[in-house]
């Protein structure tokens, strides 16, 4: 468990554990805006939207993840982040991310909005790519 005065953070995705460790503060993109979670936060469950989840271990060490929608649960000093996908910001290749966004946007123009499922899927792909590109830009 975490030492007193710090958070025990786990970031879980369906593909496995993305991060586990202690942290001083966690920032997560909630539906109503970014939330910062400090130790001794009251128990809370919060829906997350696309964005970045940042786990700050100390002043000069921070783990950033590009996350899709999901949930964050705070229980005592335990923080559990459940998201569909968590991509470490450091692993992103900006050029590739841009190319993927471009491809996704192009794919969206080819789908008619009549086909609900296909259209929604293409939109999701664009949203995901935008999210990744945004992360690379803010980390320059």
């Amino acid at each position: 468990m975490a030492e007193p005065g710090s958070l025990h953070v786990r970031v879980l995705t369906p593909e496995g554990l993305a991060f586990e460790g202690s942290a001083a503060i966690v920032f997560a993109p909630s539906a109503a805006g970014e939330v910062g979670i400090l130790p001794r936060h009251e128990p809370m469950v919060c829906a997350l939207k696309y964005g970045q989840t940042r786990v700050r271990v100390s002043d000069d060490l921070e783990h950033g993840f590009v996350t899709t929608d999901g949930f964050v649960t705070i229980d005592g000093d335990g923080v559990l982040v459940l998201v569909g996908e968590a991509l470490p910001v450091g692993d992103i290749d900006p050029a590739q991310a841009k190319a993927e966004l471009h491809a996704a946007e192009e794919a969206l123009t080819l789908v008619s909005s009549e086909e609900h499922v296909a259209y929604a899927r293409a939109q999701t792909a664009v949203r995901r790519a935008q999210n990744i590109v945004k992360a690379t830009e803010s980390h320059k």
């Binding site: 369906p14 593909e15 496995g16 128990p43 469950v45 829906a47 559990l80 996908e85 609900h116 899927r121």
Partner: protein
């Protein structure tokens, strides 16, 4: 009586087959291990989602207005999702699924359902369904031996749309659950509407027995209902993903034991043929000796 050469040729051919089946057995073992690891990787996430869902459901004012929980009194149309493999050579793996699917269809029809459509996952199942003249609504194929979460999301999106637009009133999921390396179990689950017991975490959800612990009141942001309505689709994704992963592991396990049996059979065929070949050779030698002796006798 086949000649020595005929038998020799047949032994060589069986030996080649045995090489192939043994290689397939090894490949299936390696893939099986990877598939098992992925099931393990999903487990904590799935548990978290299930716990949060039960938690949010208990704190919600009511479960009335949630589209995915809409239990309709009369099931007019239903969809059956059959999760099979893209390839055969796995014993009764695919056949079992379809047989269970047909049984489920019969049961629905006995209960008054007028129309049953199939959603095929995996090439093998879709082919058979088409051959049998069943109504196929949609196919998903090409990832049966290594599915990822994205595949599950696509299938889930499609099924949720089918259900919420009232095209179908119930969705059943038929897949091979991975019990152990030697055992796969055909499982029929109701996917939509999500059953109330599952949402509340009352009954033990398939595969786990730990009921979620009672927890103090928690602040839900924006509200318990809103969080729950986000959690339900995620739960459907996770359920389908788990079924895909289990099916993948079960497929590799089934293929491995089918190929193991094939390798054993080939070995015993080779032993039989070798015996036959030795007999044929001995018969030929005896024949030659008899001829020589007879020839010598005739000269005396």
């Amino acid at each position: 009586m086949p000649s020595q050469r005929d038998i020799k040729r047949r032994i060589d051919s069986v030996r080649n087959t045995r090489k192939i089946t043994r290689a397939m057995e090894l490949v299936a073992s390696a893939k099986l291990r990877r598939a098992q690891e992925r099931i393990e990787a999903l487990r904590p996430y799935a548990k978290g989602i299930r716990e949060q869902m039960a938690h949010a459901a208990r704190q919600s004012e009511g479960l009335r207005n949630l589209a995915l929980l809409d239990e309709r009194p009369v099931v007019q149309r239903a969809a059956i999702v059959t999760v099979t493999g893209d390839r055969g050579l796995a014993g009764a793996f695919n056949v079992n699924i379809l047989r269970a699917g047909f049984a489920a269809e019969q049961q629905l029809r006995d209960g008054g359902t007028e129309e049953v459509v199939y959603v095929g996952v995996g090439k093998k199942g879709s082919n058979t369904l088409r051959f049998r003249g069943k109504a196929i609504d949609q196919n998903f194929e090409g990832f049966s031996d290594n599915p990822n979460f994205h595949h599950a999301e696509q299938i889930a999106e499609y099924l949720v749309e089918l259900f919420t637009s009232k095209e179908v009133d119930r969705v059943l999921l038929v897949y091979n659950a991975f019990k152990s390396v030697m055992q796969q179990e055909v499982t029929v689950e109701q996917l939509l509407p999500i059953e109330r017991d599952v949402v509340l975490g009352a009954g033990a959800v398939a595969g786990t027995k730990d009921a979620p612990p009672a927890r103090p009141l928690v602040l839900f942001e924006p509200s318990a209902e809103a969080v729950l309505s986000e959690l339900l689709p995620t739960y459907v994704n996770v359920t389908i993903y788990r079924a895909l992963l289990e099916s993948a592991a079960a497929e590799h396990a089934a293929r491995r034991s089918a190929m193991h049996n094939a390798t054993d059979n080939a070995a015993s065929l080779i032993a039989d043929y070798t015996l036959k070949m030795n007999r044929a050779r001995q018969a030929a030698i005896t024949q030659e000796i008899l001829e020589v002796v007879a020839g010598a006798d005739a000269l005396q």
